[in-house]
Subunit: 172 residues, 2 copies
Amino acid sequence: MNFENFIRNIPDFPIKGIQFKDITTLLKDSEAFPMAVDYMYAPFRTEEITKIVGIESRGFIFGAALAYKLNVGFVPVRKPGKLPAATLSEEYQLEYGKDSLEIHKDAINSLDRVLIVDDLLATGGTAAATCALIKRLEGTIVGLTFLIELTQLKGREKLADYEVHSLIQYEI
Amino acid sequence: MNFENFIRNIPDFPIKGIQFKDITTLLKDSEAFPMAVDYMYAPFRTEEITKIVGIESRGFIFGAALAYKLNVGFVPVRKPGKLPAATLSEEYQLEYGKDSLEIHKDAINSLDRVLIVDDLLATGGTAAATCALIKRLEGTIVGLTFLIELTQLKGREKLADYEVHSLIQYEI
């Protein structure tokens, strides 16, 4: 299956000059969505995994499906103020300014082997912040898997310590 | 399995007086999460379903897992401005003021048989708005399924035309 055929390009969204990669055309397809989940997992199939971490909010879609497939727990990494119990927080750089991500302190422990899931690897800021959160909780990071990678933004360089997989690459 | 044992009560979140039902303690459990997805689906197992609609953002978690299980497409209903292509929008009432939800116009068609998934049925505002969006796209609503229902808020009354299922009920 050529997954790229299921991605819709939206020019000038959310701002002029950006070619937005719309994944909803893949999600709504009864063959492409489950198969994308399977292929995002495939490189890690020999690894023992105890938790899937999904990054808000499109990472929840692929991450939760994969957690269900593997019969393991799902852990959401969220924007500030969304998680109700005690959290750790990690900042990351935006083009202008900063933002941060949070995880529940009791979501991961030192016995966990974690696969991180998101729809898009761009600059790698959110992914690297998520890795930092998991390391602070002493979890082992098995790897990171993405549906789409924008290779020119070099997000992989921020994740050099880890196994990184993506299903579709765009050189834009 | 008593799913209620996996829900954590957080007093005074997000504001004083609210007893927030934290589902992350269920999500991270390798048995409770997949089984909750299975049980949320169980009452609809004899229905033909072609699409799962999940409501942003915790509805993505249960909805995507269920779409994966059933080998059907997943359709996100999102807060305004998040979906990049042509959308329909539907307003709903908040305690003070209004908000709205959006769906892609091409996400559902008249042949679709849709199950709507979310984590929480409270006043039913977002669920009823989601039903309206699906009806405007001429999809058939098979039913709605929730992890938690706050029965005193009577959300079910707004959904009287549909089959509604919840796994855990709180009378608060």
